[in-house]
């Protein structure tokens, strides 16, 4: 069975290689090859999952050693995989949602002449993401980590002829690189501290405590903070969140797969995977929770102000991942719920994005929600699936989001002390804002008046339901949004499944679970009610009103980009420009100056050579006279 693990990665990798090197002759079948290989990977994942379920909880982890990757004296990095319950969860999510989105893309990208390449990139992404979650050491994880970054770069910038897409792609890669720096430093720190960066020796396995136990708390805090930096970059957490909104320049399936369901959750995976390190570094854990809490509010506020449907959803993604990071920072009381929310979020957010894509498909690629309205009768399937996703994300009782988000809020309170109250309060507030902005999206898109506008070429939009290849994935994901949470929670199925890997402990919450649930419900109703009062009762203006100071700031991503632009971009430009000047005038100037003064000196010396034989004779005689005099003087002394 273990030997199948490599195939999980190999199948999509093969697809990427074939599709990208295959050339035009594969244009006709490329999308089917890509989809088939993604599905093949899912099937292998399912077989492994079935095998894993057949074993007892303690013997479920599998590993596969392929070859020695970088063997250098004292330094050992292998290409080898580890498949435990945590990785398995991700494998199923990635290949499952990934296959659905491949299917969806067949319809969505039908009219794009570079569809084959698009599927090649998608397969490349799947391979890298699977490598990320299957790696059994941090360096191999790093390969997957940057691999998904590359795929994300290629896919955000897929419509490269648009300068905005190219810029967004570059920005995403660069911001991620800052995070990667953190991962790279974390690996170096681990190497100098433990002499290894493989999961087994460092983090410990069943019955074998890892090397983590021997290190000082200061070292571990440093490692943990560097890992957090990496997670912030990949998962768009404050302060490295600015790329996610721009990343919506990519085709919508990309936003659904990479920038909602899978890649952006890699940061959460990293933290949960490194649980042993974080558990031993409470200071770092506190920072993680703060980052999570700040981001969940930040993303939610941004999501309230955006009129672009995808950017509103991007703000929501940021906010939901904030919940997961918050939970992951809580330690053993939160790890399982972070992953559970991650999975349910994968379903409903992917569903929401696909719904948004379906709407755009029918509306001439219009993204401004102020130009939608009243679409529910024109796109019934999209409306229903999007609506179910909406109910799931705001935490409507019984649906997926209700179970997973509620648990996180409870866990936040259970952290105890003042921190517990602050974090729990932030999480509750976030739930209210979530209800507000999602209701706003829902109303502006599907209810109210038609506010449709002709596009730039004057085509009136003719909203219509999308083809079946697009609606089927939406329906499947809607099922997941509705039932996954309940399925996981009944009998603590998910908890029992993951506990052997992540560990779990119940905190003692100062407030009862019922109180939390009730409070959440009340805030949910309040949030949705305000949104209804604002957008449902009166017609939505097509041109956005000026709005309050906060709204205006939120529309500009709370001025983060302006800050970056002024400090980093301008500052950097000045720095490089002045350095180019310095290099040219100072460093090179010294050399050229030497050359010039040599030239000047030789020019002056040249004048001595006047061509008159007699003056040469004088200098000869003079020289001889001096030599003779010197000799005589030497002799005299």
């Amino acid at each position: 069975m273990e030997n199948l693990i490599a195939l999980l990665v190999a199948a999509p990798l093969l697809g990427a290689a074939v599709l990208l090197c295959g050339g035009r002759r594969l244009d006709a079948v490329g999308h089917w090859i890509g989809t088939a290989l993604a599905a093949a990977s899912f099937v292998i994942g399912a077989i492994l999952f079935a095998d894993m379920l057949g074993k007892s909880a303690d013997h479920r982890a599998m590993s596969q050693y392929l070859f020695s990757w970088i063997p250098v004296e004292g330094f050992q990095a292998d290409v080898s995989f580890q498949l435990d319950q945590l990785s398995m969860t991700f494998v199923l999510l990635i290949t499952g949602v990934g296959s659905l989105i491949h299917l969806y893309s067949i319809g969505y990208m039908e009219h794009d002449e570079r569809r084959r390449r698009f599927f090649g990139y998608l397969n490349l992404f799947l391979a890298a993401m699977l490598l990320l979650v299957l790696a059994d050491n941090y360096l191999l994880l790093y390969v997957g980590w940057e691999g998904v970054g590359l795929a994300s770069y290629l896919l955000i910038g897929f419509w490269q002829h648009k300068p905005s897409a190219a810029t967004a792609a570059k920005k995403a890669f660069l911001v991620n690189r800052v995070g990667d720096m953190g991962l790279s430093i974390a690996i170096m720190l681990m190497f100098t501290t433990f002499g290894s960066f493989a999961f087994g020796p460092v983090l410990g396995t069943e019955g074998h405590p890892g090397l983590v136990g021997g290190a000082t708390e200061g070292k571990l805090t440093a490692v943990a903070l560097m890992l957090l930096l990496a997670a912030c970059g990949k998962s768009a957490q404050v302060p490295l969140q600015s790329w996610l909104g721009d990343a919506m320049e990519g085709p919508t399936p990309v936003s659904a797969l990479i920038h909602a369901a899978t890649m952006v959750t890699a940061g959460v995976y990293l933290i949960v995977r490194s649980a042993a390190i974080f558990n031993a570094a409470p200071d770092a854990q506190l920072v993680v929770t703060v980052v999570g809490a700040v981001t969940l509010l930040f993303g939610a506020i941004v999501g309230c102000a955006k009129d672009d449907i995808k950017k509103a959803l991007a703000g929501s993604t940021m906010s939901q991942i904030g919940y997961m990071v918050l939970a992951a920072g809580l330690g053993p009381i939160g790890y399982v719920f972070a992953i559970m929310h991650l999975v349910t979020h994968g379903f409903f957010k992917a569903g929401l994005f696909l719904g948004a894509g379906s709407v755009m498909h029918g509306m001439n690629d219009e993204v401004d929600m102020r130009k939608y309205g009243g679409l529910r009768t024109y796109m019934p399937i999209t409306f229903v699936t999007f609506g179910l996703g909406y109910l799931a994300i705001i935490g409507f009782p019984g649906l997926s989001g209700f179970f997973s988000k509620d648990k996180i809020i409870e866990a936040a309170f259970a952290k105890g002390g003042t921190e517990g109250w602050i974090l729990g309060g932030a999480a509750l507030l976030g739930a209210a804002i979530t209800a507000y902005y999602m209701t706003r999206v829902m109303i502006m898109t599907f209810f109210g008046e038609k506010r449709w506008q002709p596009d730039a070429e004057g085509h009136e939009p003719h909203p219509h339901e999308s083809p079946r290849s697009m609606t089927i994935p939406m329906i499947v994901l809607a099922f997941g949004s509705v039932f996954a949470g309940g399925f996981f929670s009944i009998g603590d199925r998910f908890l029992n499944w993951l506990e052997p890997v992540t560990g779990h402990s119940e905190g003692n919450s100062p407030v009862s679970a019922l109180t939390v649930t009730l409070a959440t419900m009340v805030l949910l109703v309040v949030g949705a009610g305000i949104a209804y009062a604002q957008y449902g009762r009166s017609p939505v203006p097509v041109v956005a009103p000026r709005g309050s100071l906060l709204t205006r700031a939120a529309r500009r991503d709370l001025l983060q980009d302006d800050f970056n632009h002024v400090v980093l971009v301008r500052g950097g430009e000045h720095l490089t420009r002045s350095l180019v000047y310095v290099d040219h005038t100072l460093v090179d100037g010294v050399v050229n100056g030497t050359a010039a003064s040599m030239g000047g000196l030789s020019g002056r010396l040249r004048k001595l050579q006047n061509g008159y034989a007699r003056s040469y004779a004088v200098s000869m005689f003079g020289g001889v006279a001096i030599l003779v005099a010197a000799t005589l003087l030497m002799r005299a002394v």
Binding site: Q609, N610, G611, Y612, A613, R614, A617, V618
Partner: protein
Amino acid sequence: MNPVNYLYLSALLFTIGATGVLIRRNAIVVFMCVELMLNACNLAFVVFSRLHGNLDGQIIAFFTMVVAAAEVVVGLAIIVSLFRSRHSASVDDASLMKL
């Protein structure tokens, strides 16, 4: 007669020759002055030979004469060809061999 006096004569001849090379412009005269300097040296060599009582100086004097003879041949040829091309024997006119 004290042979050292011949050395004084040699020095005097050399100085006259050197001065002539430096101040005269006519190539023939300059050339003759060079010859004068060579002969001054010859005289000094012979005197030294006499003073030290060996023949080295005289042998070198013979060498010098041979060199001088060769020099006369080449030098006069150059001066004659210069005179033919420029109708002047002034050394200052031939100042073109500079950078």
